[in-house]
Subunit: 363 residues, 2 copies
Amino acid sequence: MEKEREALQVWKERVGQELDTVVAFWLQHSHDEEHGGFFTCLGRNGQVYDHLKYVWLQGRQVWMYCRLYRLFERFHRAELLDAAKAGGEFLLHYARVAPPGKKCAFVLTRDGRPVKVQRTIFSECFYTMAMNELWKVTGETRYQNEAVEMMDQIVHWVRVDPTGLGRPQLSGTPATEPMAVPMMLLSLVEQLGEEDEALTSKYAELGDWCAHRILQHVQRDGKAVLENISEDGKELPGCLGRHQNPGEDLEWDMKLWWPHSEAMIAFLMAFSDTGDPALLQIFNQVAEYTFSHFHDPEFGEWFGYLNREGKVALNIKGGPFKGCFHVPRCLAMCEQILEALIHRLGPTPVVSSPADPICGGSK
Amino acid sequence: MEKEREALQVWKERVGQELDTVVAFWLQHSHDEEHGGFFTCLGRNGQVYDHLKYVWLQGRQVWMYCRLYRLFERFHRAELLDAAKAGGEFLLHYARVAPPGKKCAFVLTRDGRPVKVQRTIFSECFYTMAMNELWKVTGETRYQNEAVEMMDQIVHWVRVDPTGLGRPQLSGTPATEPMAVPMMLLSLVEQLGEEDEALTSKYAELGDWCAHRILQHVQRDGKAVLENISEDGKELPGCLGRHQNPGEDLEWDMKLWWPHSEAMIAFLMAFSDTGDPALLQIFNQVAEYTFSHFHDPEFGEWFGYLNREGKVALNIKGGPFKGCFHVPRCLAMCEQILEALIHRLGPTPVVSSPADPICGGSK
């Protein structure tokens, strides 16, 4: 028990310190003081190598700053809130390609002109997350109205009519849905429903629908999670059907930051739910690998892209898909889970007599 | 001189034999006897791992078969011609998304239904190459009419009005043209104008325009060829402006089949033009690396994707971008250039007296 407490305590401190340096990195290098919003194409030392503003990452950074401001006393600082608000205003002004239409761009110029549009729902999802968090932090209803209206538009595109996304209808395109869609929607249901009974109730049926759709992607007797399945829940032929674990992956033999940070969260959550020490052991293993390979001791933050052997393949700290999101989110979530676990173990036992602290005083 | 002749002769035989096994691989594994056209998603041993038919590769394989049939006595076989014609018919029936509109799909199902459309000109370019070669081989004017009509459509999209390609007009998209466009058009000018005075004359101004546009991409005092430049021929900021050598690349540190096969052609051409032995030496170096790393001695053809250290990263023989094109085209072109070089050296000197063939008899 005491050994476990000690391990949890050590990780909590390590994770917390890492969160501090990661947040400091983004505060220092990513803010566009001129136009609002964030630079995310940052080199190893934080230097901006491209001024493009990717909408996913604008929304995610607003969300992250609000969340840190709201849930961590040490981040309850005007610096974070002001930057989140400036990011929110940038999105409100520029994210939509042709307002009042709700379709958002995928990437904007530094001053907010659309460069590319993806025919998917994801820019709009991160827009919604940002607006909902801004509302939670500021209480300004205009943010929440934006969030709920965009959410309703997304649900319409997914469940009623996708025409507005702009994808052509082609006779050879198989009727299929990537798991990313219900997964993303479910996380929005959770986001909007957090401490909000009216929205929890409004989106309850949608949440069930998402969970049902997600579970259909568990195939091959529970041994594989396939990204694309047929409309009646069967495995599809060809590469489309075999596709697993999509996202910001590049090559199959690379090691990327976000599956590692997600794995840290997942194993710590699983340990918290079950108490199985084998799961804590795996968290430990993944976290040790991650801290020793992805973390950059010289300039802070994490490298995103390693090769299979763990060598840095791209030394950028941010790009079109890596921004102020997966890493601080992982560290913040792990810090919270670790704190709750330590709390659950009860107060530290009082040592009854002075003893050699290296050998341990409580046995 | 004799040493050079010997080296050229050795390479000519090696390249010719390799061409035979490569062509045999595609003849054996890629033909769809049921629907016409070609499977290009082939595993290491030639097994089809996906039935999707990528239009670029359909057109390229038709072109390749016709060219081999037309220019190499040993490939002047009904098997190649019949497969090329079946591929041509498949394209005629299915490549266009909404006939009589000329926009072609990027990828089709096995039976020819469109799966995806790229908002570029490249499917149409390879369609044109295929039709022109089919005309050259069969003399059937319907093929040539298709080629010329499609060519005129492509030129219209590039030089007059791109609306038909379907790309949205976005205010933040910089006015730029990838070098791939004039490069591809110039190769069509060459293809259509080959032994055709009327078309040579028709496309002469276009050829000049392409060459002028291509040369604008040579930047930084001739030290870099940049893929994207501004409309007035200047380097663009950001990643877009720094982009070089696009194509079927995946990661910057990988070694791919096609830059190696293109380099073999380029250095042999350059040696043929200048006679500089240093260029033959580089051809030798690139070709040795390529034959020892990309070539698969067990199942034939070449691996497409190596990592930086030369280890096979993906052992497929074909996919969305690798088909019956770069490798046989390289080998066929190298064989032709080597033959011309050997021919230029004149007849082999007659050895005046019997001598030890290992020590050489002519000194």
